[in-house]
């Protein structure tokens, strides 16, 4: 080793396979690979984190509006003339509430407009009113102020989800109306309105006339206690502008409004591309400025069952259904799974049969869940004739699906108990069963519990197998038992995501959030159990 000198030879060290140039290059290459790997790993984690944040923030921002619901407080006439205390069940409470609403807008006269106005409040109003009167008969006999949930469109508009609405801006010129209702002309003192209309998508016609079609933003002028929607504007003499408009809310008088006394409101979203008309918007704004509308915690969403009406739809039925299903799953899968694991791990002879059983259990864990659903359909429903859509059947199907997971997790944690513990117990004369139940099982329990909870969390999020056994049905009632028809959270989410009504979008996200909260809680329990009872030998 002394015959060669290394190339950086000042020290005169003998060249070695660990110090020559090739070795240095190799070493450098090794560090490069390491660095690359580190960066790639960090990038992967960052990307995953980014997607997670994106997903969660999307869901959360979508879900937040669903947590509140707007109510309108109406003076409801519950005097004996309207509500006969002896015949409470025969009263049309919806009609009473609608009357109270229409009374607020006396100048709405056409049948069509009246129907539109009545639609502002939820169709479930009568049910709520009936229930509250039954609970508190003291409400009867006079007029009470009662908060009524708004219909989903009205509610969404008030949450700012249906249309872009600009704030009210004072018009810096005089406005003179030609009438107080119907189609009227408005004369503006200057031509600023023309540029404004052009800026908001009005179509330019002959003679400098601008027409505001339903494809353009809506321009509403509020003055003299009423509101006029502009339809077209054309320049007139002396630099004034004459606008044609439809009165939505009747004006008090034809007196001209001085500069700064009329207000312009622009609804940016054209009427044609939103699901709420200008009229409804004006009515809602009127109610709102009268202080009658109030946003409350959406207890309907959390504590009622499903409904086709978004504002009446709640998640509680699905939560109860999920809970009942999980109880059945746990009650079946846990004892059977743990027993099977104990038998296979501690008692079963190691022969061809047990090996085959083991392999098949591992394979079962990889079977697509829908197959378990088909199995449940064929066996539980068709062969045993069990009830459709029932948590008991759903629970059994999910138990089949969860069993292999629990068995595998339990066996792993039984195997992790050191053999010295078994030997210690056997060595002082404990029987096999005593050894397992006094020593091995208690030590394996945290692991078994962790596996079970993770298996249950998996089952809680499962949708496909339950579609097969009819748990996708639309069920309004909150299930009261294991054989009542029910649906579960993920299926409810699936159904809501499918509904066309805009109001269900937020409900879907909110339900996803609830499901996620449950899953996070279950996983947290699993982690805590693992931390708390982790043992070192």
């Amino acid at each position: 080793m002394t015959d060669a000198i290394s190339s950086f030879g000042a020290v005169g060290r003998p060249a070695s396979i660990h110090t020559d140039d090739a070795a240095k290059a190799r070493l450098k290459g090794r560090y490069r690979t390491e660095k690359w790997f580190k960066w790639l790993g960090a990038a992967a984690v960052a990307l995953a984190g980014l997607f997670l944040v994106l997903l969660l923030s999307t869901i959360v921002t979508q879900a937040i509006p669903a947590l509140r619901q707007n109510y309108v407080t109406l003076p409801i006439d519950l005097s004996a003339a309207k509500v006969d205390p002896a015949k409470l069940d025969e009263v049309n409470y919806d009609a009473i509430a609608q009357e109270a609403l229409t009374a607020k807008f006396p100048d709405v006269t056409s049948r069509q407009d009246k129907r539109l106005l009545r639609g502002l409040i939820s169709t479930g109003t009568g049910v709520f009113l009936r229930k509250d009167i039954a609970a508190d008969p003291g409400m009867l006999g006079g007029t009470v102020d009662y908060a009524v949930p708004l219909d989903d469109f009205a509610d969404l508009y008030l949450k700012g989800l249906l249309a872009d609405v600009g704030s009210d801006e004072a018009i810096s010129t005089s406005v003179t109306p030609s009438g107080t209702s119907g189609d009227i002309d408005l004369t503006f003192g200057d031509d600023a309105m023309l540029a404004l209309a052009r800026g908001h998508g009005a179509t330019e016609g002959e003679n400098g006339m601008f027409t505001l079609t339903s494809g353009a933003s809506s321009l509403l002028v509020a003055f003299n206690g009423g509101t006029v929607k502009l339809t077209s504007l054309s320049p007139a003499a002396n630099g004034t502008v004459i606008a044609k408009g439809t009165v939505i809310e009747a004006l008090d008088s034809t007196a001209p409004a001085a500069s700064g006394q009329a207000f312009l409101r622009v609804i940016e979203t054209p009427e044609a591309s939103r699901k709420i008309s200008d009229k409804v918007i004006v009515w809602l704004d009127t109610l709102k400025s009268a202080g009658l509308i109030e946003s409350r915690f959406n207890s309907i969403f959390f504590f009622t069952g499903a409904s086709r009406e978004p504002e009446l739809a709640g998640v509680w039925g699905a939560v109860v259904g999920s809970f009942l299903t999980m109880i059945v799953t746990l009650a079946i899968a846990f004892p059977i799974g743990v027993s099977a694991a104990i038998y296979l791990e501690e008692f079963a002879p190691k022969n061809r049969l047990t090996t085959m059983i083991e392999v098949n259990i591992n394979n079962l864990a990889a079977v697509p869940s829908i197959v378990f659903g088909l199995l449940g359909l064929a066996v539980f429903l068709n062969f045993f004739g069990m009830p459709r859509s029932a948590p008991v059947v759903g629970g059994m199907v999910l138990a089949l699906m969860t069993l292999p997971i629990i068995i595998i997790a339990s066996r792993a944690s039984l195997r992790a108990v050191p053999p010295s513990i078994r030997e210690a117990a056997l060595g002082i004369g404990a029987s096999k069963v005593q050894t397992v139940f006094h020593h091995v099982l208690p030590l394996a329990m945290p692991g078994i519990m962790t596996g079970t909870i993770l298996g249950m969390a998996h089952a809680l999020g499962e949708t496909a197998p339950l579609l097969m056994i009819g748990m996708v049905a639309f069920i309004v009632d909150i299930p009261g038992g294991f054989t009542d028809p029910a649906t579960i959270l993920p299926v409810q989410i699936f159904m809501w995501a499918d509904f066309p009504e805009a109001g269900f979008q937020q409900k879907t996200s909110a339900a996803i959030l609830i499901l996620l909260v449950f899953l996070v809680i279950m996983n947290a329990i699993a982690v805590i159990l693992r931390r708390r009872f982790e043992r070192r030998w």
Partner: protein
């Protein structure tokens, strides 16, 4: 202790005179682990109230033989034992023999201290409890205390009986395991390299303890330490490659062995 010594005890390997009665006896004991044979026709006697040391290089079958004595090899699926082992003349591999009863009579202490991850009290009380040795709590307390005293641990742990047994030091843990074995009042205690995981001080304590325990129990100990065998045992058996090479009084084995292999092993020339 009421011993039924087998009539006409052969003392073919022993040169000892007026030897105590034979407690356990192995005749042509062979063990197979699957295809592999680990023990070849071993004949070995264990004398009452003596310490019998099993020595030999690693893999020579001494632990295997030890585990045959209380049928711990039953727990290994592939292990197969042939030949005959008797305890007070009864064949321990007789199907009529209850293995639970056998292990209560022939207790075991393992190489690595393996207390249950429970309290010190529970560790000792577990055996008496499952065998129904104590009728009252007071009786059980008495058994626990006397066992811990016999194992020389009581004074060190009397104030923390309810703390975990795994929190003790290695030597204390091993003495706890010995107390646990004693608590079921066995007749024979098997020790499989009980000091291999302990430091010299703890080892000395356990060795002292073994010597004391000899008064009441019959002890079989597997050890890798020649000095330990010489210090604690009255009889020594030398194993090599699954065969019993030589067996005899410890004094003789260490000063004037019959077999060259024993000589070489004891003097450190192989193993």
């Amino acid at each position: 202790m009421n011993i039924m010594t087998e009539a006409g005890v052969e003392q073919k390997l022993s040169s000892a005179t007026n030897a105590p009665s034979i407690k356990m006896k192995g005749e042509k004991v062979s063990v197979h682990y699957g295809e592999k044979r680990a023990l070849f026709d071993v004949d070995l006697d264990v004398r009452e109230h003596q310490v019998t040391a099993l020595i030999g290089p690693s893999g020579c079958g001494k632990s295997t033989f030890l585990r045959c004595l209380n049928r711990m090899n039953d727990t290994i699926d592939i292990a197969r034992v042939s030949g005959k082992i008797t305890l007070d003349g009864e064949d321990v591999y007789d199907p009529k023999i209850d293995v639970v009863e056998l292990r209560a009579r022939v207790g075991m202490v393992f190489q690595k201290p393996n207390p249950f991850p429970k309290s010190i009290y529970e560790n000792v009380a577990y055996g008496p409890r499952i065998h129904g040795l104590a009728r009252t709590k007071a009786e059980l307390d008495g058994i626990v205390e006397s066992s811990l005293k016999k194992a020389g641990l009581f004074n060190e742990v009397k104030d923390r009986l309810l703390e975990s047994g795994t929190g003790l030091s290695g030597g204390q843990q091993q003495r706890l395991c010995i107390a646990r074995a004693i608590a079921v009042s066995p007749e024979v205690i098997l020790m499989d390299e009980p000091c291999s995981a302990l430091d010299p001080i703890a080892t000395a304590r356990v060795e002292e303890l073994i010597d004391e325990l000899r008064q009441n129990y019959t002890i079989v100990i597997v050890t890798h330490s020649m000095q330990q065998a010489a210090r604690v045992s009255q009889r020594t058996a030398m194993f090599h490659l699954g065969y019993l090479v030589e067996e005899g009084a410890t004094d003789k084995m260490f000063t004037n062995p019959d077999d060259k292999r024993t000589q070489d092993y004891i003097t450190g020339r192989f193993g």
